[in-house]
């Protein structure tokens, strides 16, 4: 006797339901499945597409020709692109280091003020996010351009006679990137600094450590997890940044992010853009892994 299709599907639903009732791991899977589905459709599948396309080649009219080859990757070894790559790493690394240097005192200060003021200061750090990133970049252009606020101020104070050319230089890119990523460094740093009990610092002082040594031996090591988290949050997006160099960097500052964007939107060379994207992905992964290993990204540090 064969089952009708309708009956079969009803049996299947019943089996799934009973499985869900009895098996906790099936329940867990059911709970995360919307997220899994989302990631599968919008992240995993596009990523696979990028991987595949990076091994194909560009057609005459910007279309994709299906012939598997390594040509795009070979093209990337060109000194021109390697220079773009090293400049990207340098810019992202410098952004990370400067946000640590600027963000650490700020995070330290916030973690030490009375609790009620703390939330107010954290709120102020988040206020810039209320405005669109592009608009904030235009604000920086207004400040930094030759006839801008900064130059006018310095000229009126008699500090400079000829305006400073900051806009459309790598310095302008660096300034705007530090500005943009600073909150991503301050927040994790604050979290780990705030967790340090006052008694730890008192114990250090009690055992004979002057404030500066207490900072180096107790506060700084205990804040390293926050520094690592912040560095990852800053370095990874900084590596892929293309808006800031586009608007503020002029022709000289091309980051790998700009390169990729141009391949897709201007040159219409999707396969080469995909190869560059893969390189960026692998490079970011490698740098992050080396950095976290080196800085001792151990379990005990995270607690």
């Amino acid at each position: 006797m064969s089952t009708t299709p309708e009956k079969g599907s009803r049996n299947f639903v019943a089996a799934v339901l009973s499985r869900l009732r009895e098996d906790p791991s099936a329940q867990g899977l059911a709970l995360v499945s919307p997220t899994l589905l989302y990631l599968l459709i919008f992240m995993i599948l596009p990523l696979i597409m990028v991987v595949v396309i990076s091994f194909l080649s560009r057609g005459t009219y910007g279309d994709i020709e299906f012939n598997l080859n390594l040509g795009n990757y070979v093209r990337l070894i060109d000194p021109l692109y390697l220079r773009v790559l090293s400049y990207s790493i340098k810019t992202a690394a410098l952004t990370t280091i400067i946000t640590i240097l600027v963000g650490y005192p700020l995070a330290y200060y916030i973690a030490r003020v009375p609790a009620r003021q703390r939330s107010r200061l954290l709120f102020l750090i988040l206020v810039p996010f209320w405005t669109n990133f592009i608009i904030r970049i235009y604000a920086w252009i207004m400040i930094l351009r030759t006839e801008g606020i900064l130059n006018n101020l310095l000229a009126s104070l008699g500090i400079i006679n000829t305006p400073l050319y900051i806009l459309y230089t790598p310095l302008a890119v660096q300034i705007a990137m530090v500005y943009e990523f600073l909150p991503f460094m301050v927040l994790p740093l604050y979290t780990s600094l705030e967790k340090i009990e006052n008694a730890q610092l008192e114990a250090a002082a009690d055992l004979g450590a002057r404030p500066w040594r207490a900072f180096l031996r107790v506060t700084l090591p205990l804040s390293i997890p926050g520094m690592i988290a912040g560095s990852i949050l800053v370095f990874i997006p900084a590596m892929g940044m293309f808006v800031v160099p586009d608007l503020m960097g002029g022709a000289k500052s091309v980051l790998i992010g700009n390169l990729i964007r141009n391949q897709f939107l201007t040159a219409r060379d999707w396969p080469f853009g995909s190869a560059a994207s893969m390189l960026l992905l692998l490079l970011t992964l490698a740098v992050t892994l080396i950095y976290t290993r080196k800085a001792g990204f151990g379990e005990d540090l995270l607690v």
């Binding site: 250090a204 009690d206 055992l207 450590a209 031996r217 205990l222 607690v303």
Partner: protein, 373 residues
């Protein structure tokens, strides 16, 4: 000013006020004066908020007095920071450095003094042996039990050989059994190293067990300083009698004073009670009469023509070493009495029974007449 060199710590009229978050000020320590002798095990005992921890923090240098002076080894400390004071602290939370190993924790204080590497290694080893944790040097503090962490905190402070060791409720987080063990161990350790210990606790039994002398504090004031026996047997006020051990209070007014013998007219009981004068008393003054439960006798008939009161047994509890009896003298006066079971017997009449009519006998030496709060 030169102070007597026999004192390790001295507080002279010390006042500490904190700004209150809601406005105004809180007086945590209110004109406290005390002298702690070299080599003494001295306890600051009192309920939470009595100012004992603040006093300790003033000695450590984490806080500075609003008024008055703290002296350590004859030196007026003023605003000397903690890292320049010859004292070390064992914190209530231990405050071990979680990112360092146990050995690194213990070595920290010596590194700050720039002691040579081999010397550090030797002294850290000694300190770890002293607290019986010689083999745990490579562990991280999180991997140790509460009791072990407590010992490490102790070793970390003692390895510096301070003039005074300050301990802020160091056994507070341990379970009862471990606490009792550590109490004895700490006392032995203190005798062995000969360092002055200043010990903050709210546990009166702990203070009685360990201390040479105790300062009982309440609301920022030191009420009484004395040996455990003095504090227990001769409290100078109602608060101390109540806070240390258990006691019964009966209230009344002083009717006559004859040397250290005071006669009190009781409030709710007809008749007078004769007892020992404690503190400043005057005729007509309202007093609290303190009688410890183990110092009351129960009898079939009055033993003498004063200080004996008829009563009725409300309930009894046999707890092995003692029989605890509750006796009502009238509706308003109830006494707790502990009778030690000195004779082994199964005879139920020895252990009293509910409803039994009985006489309560109070020897004048056991009756303490204190100024009422």
């Amino acid at each position: 000013m030169v102070s007597d060199p026999q004192f390790a710590v001295e507080m002279r009229n010390v006042v500490k006020r904190f700004p209150n978050p809601g406005g105004g000020e809180v007086v945590a320590v209110d004109h406290v004066s005390l002298k702690i002798q070299n080599g003494e095990f001295f306890s600051l005992l009192g309920p939470s908020g009595c100012g004992k921890t603040t006093s300790l923090r003033l000695m450590a240098g984490f806080e500075w007095p609003t008024d008055g002076d703290i002296l350590i080894k004859e030196q007026i400390m003023g605003r000397t920071p903690p890292y320049l004071r010859p004292v070390n602290t064992v914190f209530q939370s231990y405050a071990l450095f979680q990112h360092m190993t146990v050995a690194q924790n213990v070595a920290f204080g010596l590194e700050m003094e720039h002691v040579s590497k081999p010397e550090i290694k030797r002294r850290v080893g000694e300190a770890m042996e002293m607290v019986q944790l010689g083999k745990l040097g490579a562990r991280k503090p999180k991997q140790l039990s509460g009791g072990q962490q407590q010992r490490i905190a102790l070793a970390r402070a003692l390895v510096k050989r301070p003039a005074v060791l300050l301990l802020d409720e160091p056994l507070g987080a341990l379970d009862l059994k471990l606490r009792k063990e550590m109490q004895l161990e700490l006392k032995l350790l203190q005798a062995q190293v000969g360092i002055t210990f200043v010990y903050v606790t709210h546990d009166q039994e702990e203070a009685l067990t360990m201390s040479n002398r105790i300062a009982v504090m309440d609301k920022g004031n030191v009420l009484q300083i004395g040996s455990p026996v003095e504090i227990y047997e001769r409290p100078n006020c109602q608060f101390v009698a109540d806070f240390i051990g258990e006691t019964n209070f009966i209230f009344g007014k002083v009717s006559s004073i004859d040397g250290d013998r005071v006669t009190v007219q009781l409030e709710n009981i007809s008749g007078e009670l004769v007892g020992m004068c404690q503190g400043e008393l005057s005729i007509g003054m309202k007093v609290a009469v303190s009688i410890r439960p183990e110092k009351i006798r129960l009898a079939e008939k009055p033993a003498f023509d004063y200080n004996c009161f008829p009563g009725r047994v409300v309930t009894t509890a046999y707890i092995g070493s003692d029989t605890r009896v509750i006796v009502d003298l009238n509706e308003k006066t109830r006494l707790r009495i502990w009778e030690q079971n000195k004779i082994s017997t199964l005879d139920p009449s020895v252990y009293y029974s509910t409803g039994q009519e009985i006489w309560v006998v109070l020897f004048p030496d056991n009756v303490l007449i204190l100024p009422a709060m």
